[in-house]
Structure formats: C-alpha cells, structure tokens
C-alpha cells in the first residue's frame, strides 16, 4: 500500500515538475466568477422584463377587465392569459437558482426558500418596473417606430391588442345604443369593423347604464355570426386615454 501511495505522489510531482500540469492563475477564477455573476444578473434582468411585460400586456390590452365579470370572466382571463410567457419566466427563475447555487452562499439556502426568494424578487421588481417606471411606455414607442429588435419589438407593438372579436372579446368604441343592443367600432388589426353587441336583460356586469356614444368599452361574450352575446361590458379607461 505504501508503495502505491508513493506512486501517486511521484506521478503527480513528476507531472508538476515536467510542466505537464500548471496552476491556473488567480485572475482566471476572478474572471470566471465575474462572468457567472454577469450571466446570473442577465437572467434575472430578462426574467424581470418578461414578468413586467406580462403585467403590462394584461392591463394594456384590457384583459384585466375580465376579472370583473364573475366566474365566466375569470375563466376567459385564464384562457387568454399568456401562460407560455409565464412558463418561460418560471424556467428562467429555475435556471437562475441553479446559477446562484454555484456561488458559495447559494448552496447553504434550502432550495424552496431560494426559489421563493427569487420569485418574490422577480415579481416584486417586475411590478415595480410596470407600475413605477416609464420603461414599458418607452419600449412601446420604440416598438411602434420599429426601433426595437424584431422579437422584442413585436411583443411591445402588439401589447395593447386584445383577442379578436371572433373570440368573443372586443375593445371598441360605441357608435349607437338601442335598447339592449350596442353597435360599436373595432379599430384593431389595422381595420375598422362594426360589431353588434347584444346584452342580456338582467345582468349587472353587462348593461348599457352609464354608456354613451363615443365611449370606449371592453366587451366579452359568446360570438355568433358577427354578434357578441355579452356577459360583461365595461367602460375602458385605458382605451379612453389612448
């Protein structure tokens, strides 16, 4: 056994003395640590921007109104929510926790706590960027001007567009009101389309009360032959500001 040990020692020292192996310089490890930190920060930034965009697109397209229309509105919200973006964001957070665990402090934190912490960080900063900073408005203006890279540009260029009227959702302007029927103009997708909206007789969330010609409204219902049988109508404040 002693002989075997000497073999290991002799072999390693021989490789060192002949120059076959050499020490990596300290700067190599410093640069690697910096590169890792940069990648981690970049992943964090991208995940924050994506979450911020999810929030922005939900309220800019008026889809948050769906949450005011009871269980059916909630079901529609679930249907139209950009789940695939949320999935990408979740994958980025999972990748981020993997990167953070490579740092000395990272592995000491239990996985669940770290994931929870990173989620709170991403959601919190995403909310902050969306509600407090003008980043989304700036990016939207840049996107409209075609100044953003194609992928990002398309996202922000189309953020305000709700689903098509064929899907039972309309963000439009009231042209006329007669009884429980509204005729409205839909200006989305580069064309103006007249949409007929029929409201149910006794539905608190779908009434013409308080609506006037020229109002921007957000409507959700069942589409049938170009007519939307609405279960939810709401004045669209964001639309009115446009």
């Amino acid at each position: 056994m002693e002989n075997k040990h000497n073999n290991i020692k002799d072999a390693v020292l021989a490789r060192i003395n002949t120059g076959e192996i050499s020490m990596r310089p300290h700067v190599y490890f410093t640069l690697r640590l910096c590169a890792l930190a940069c990648v981690a920060l970049l992943v964090l930034a991208v995940s924050i921007v994506i979450f911020n965009f999810i929030l922005f697109s939900v309220h800019a397209s008026g889809r948050e109104n769906l949450l005011m229309f009871g269980p059916r509105g909630f079901a529609s919200f679930i249907q139209f929510f950009p789940w695939w973006l949320l999935l990408i964001d979740a994958l980025l957070v999972a990748g981020l926790q993997y990167l953070v665990r490579t740092f000395q402090f990272g592995y000491r934190i239990p996985l669940l706590y770290m994931l929870a912490g990173l989620l709170v960080l991403t959601v919190g900063l995403g909310l902050f960027v969306d509600k407090v900073t003008p980043l989304n408005d700036l990016l939207e203006v840049q996107a409209h001007g075609g100044h953003l890279p194609p992928g990002v540009g398309n996202f922000f260029d189309h953020a305000r567009r709700p689903p098509r009227p064929e899907e039972g959702v309309c963000r439009c302007t009231v042209v006329s009101i007669a009884g429980n029927t509204i005729v409205a103009e839909d200006h989305n997708f580069g064309t103006t389309t007249l949409v007929t909206i029929v409201l149910p007789p006794n539905e608190a969330q779908a009434t013409t009360s308080g609506l006037r010609v020229g109002d921007n409204i957000f409507v959700v219902g069942d589409e049938d032959g170009g007519v939307i049988h609405a279960f939810g109508v709401r004045r669209d404040d964001i639309g009115n500001k446009r």
Partner: protein, 190 residues
C-alpha cells in the same frame, strides 16, 4: 524542509505563492484518506488510484481559487466528491436527478460533540458491513462523517448542500443501515 507541523492552510498559501515543493506534503497527508473515501463511496477498488491522482492534479491546477482563510480539507474533499460522482455517472450508477428533495426545506441540525464521538466509535466498527446497501448520496455522508470524521458544516461544504440536509441524510442513512442489518441478522449499534 519538514512541513509536518505546518497547517494545511499555511501550506496552501505557500503553494499559491509559488513554492511547488509543498504540494508533495498535501499528497502525503491526504492520499490515504482520499483512497479510503473513494473506495467506500464508489464501492470498488479498481481505478481509484487513477481518480485520486486526478483529484490531486485538479487541486494543484485550481489551488489559486482556494481561500486560505477557510479550511483546506473540505475544499479538497469537494474536488474528490466531484471526481467520484463523475466516476459513478460514467458507470451509470447514479440517478440523474435535477434536484434533491433533501435540499428542498430547512432542517434543524444539532451536533452534540460527546454523543457524536460515541456514535462514531460504534458506527466505525459496523458501518462497513452495510455500506453497499445504501444509495450513493447516503453512503457518501456516512463515509465523510464516520470514517473521515468531518463535521456537519464541513460535509455541507463538500456536498454543497445546506447543513440541515447533512443531518437529514445521516439520519436516513442510519435508518437504512439499521434496516439492512436487520435483514442480514447483524446486531446494530452494540
């Protein structure tokens, strides 16, 4: 020069400063330990010397990344752990899991030094008999704690898991060992 009384961390600082001669002392101090760790963890004796040699090569190449204010042994065992895990993966004896459920939550880990010493003395005698019955992640923590005598914090550094996870794995390993002994009709803990 006689380096026998010089602590590892001081030797590492000398090595970082360019004194290549001291590396032989590291090999002398740790080769038997790493051979034993590898033999027990991998449950085999073939190729262990080659792997241990590569562990020392890797330690030499990466010595500038070692922080001399920290303990040296967990740093070296960490390199060995990676080499042994790679050897297990190469032989497809290690499940490829994305994450370990043991690291999911925080666990309390309290180490009573007196009880630990009694426990170690008992376990050292019998641990060999059932070691192969354990999954690698439990086998490794048993080897590091009972045979290599690292404490929870050092093992946590080697395995890069929270300290509480070390306690959980050790408890589960002892339960699994007990079950293995019962099955083999071996008296446990006496």
């Amino acid at each position: 020069m006689d380096y026998r009384a010089v602590p590892d961390e001081q030797l590492a600082a000398q090595l970082q400063a360019g004194d290549k001669e001291v590396f032989g002392t590291f090999v002398e101090r740790y080769e038997a330990k790493l051979l034993r760790y590898g033999t027990k963890f991998l449950s085999r004796t073939e190729d262990i010397e080659d792997i241990v040699q590569e562990v020392f090569v890797s330690a030499y190449q990466n010595i500038q990344s070692f922080d001399t204010s920290q303990k040296f042994s967990p740093w070296l065992y960490r390199i060995a752990h990676n080499a042994y895990v790679n050897a297990l993966k190469k032989n497809s004896r290690l499940p490829r899991v994305m994450f370990d459920f043991d690291t999911l939550l925080s666990h309390q880990a309290y180490e009573d030094p007196a009880a630990a010493e009694r426990d170690r003395a008992d376990m050292r005698v019998i641990v060999d008999k059932g070691l192969e019955q354990l999954a690698p992640k439990y086998r490794e923590v048993v080897v590091l704690y009972y045979l290599e005598e690292l404490d929870y914090k050092e093992i946590a550094e080697v395995l890069q898991v929270p300290t509480g996870t070390v306690g959980v794995r050790l408890r589960r390993a002892k339960e699994a060992l007990q079950a293995a002994y019962d099955k083999l009709n071996i008296t446990y803990g006496e």
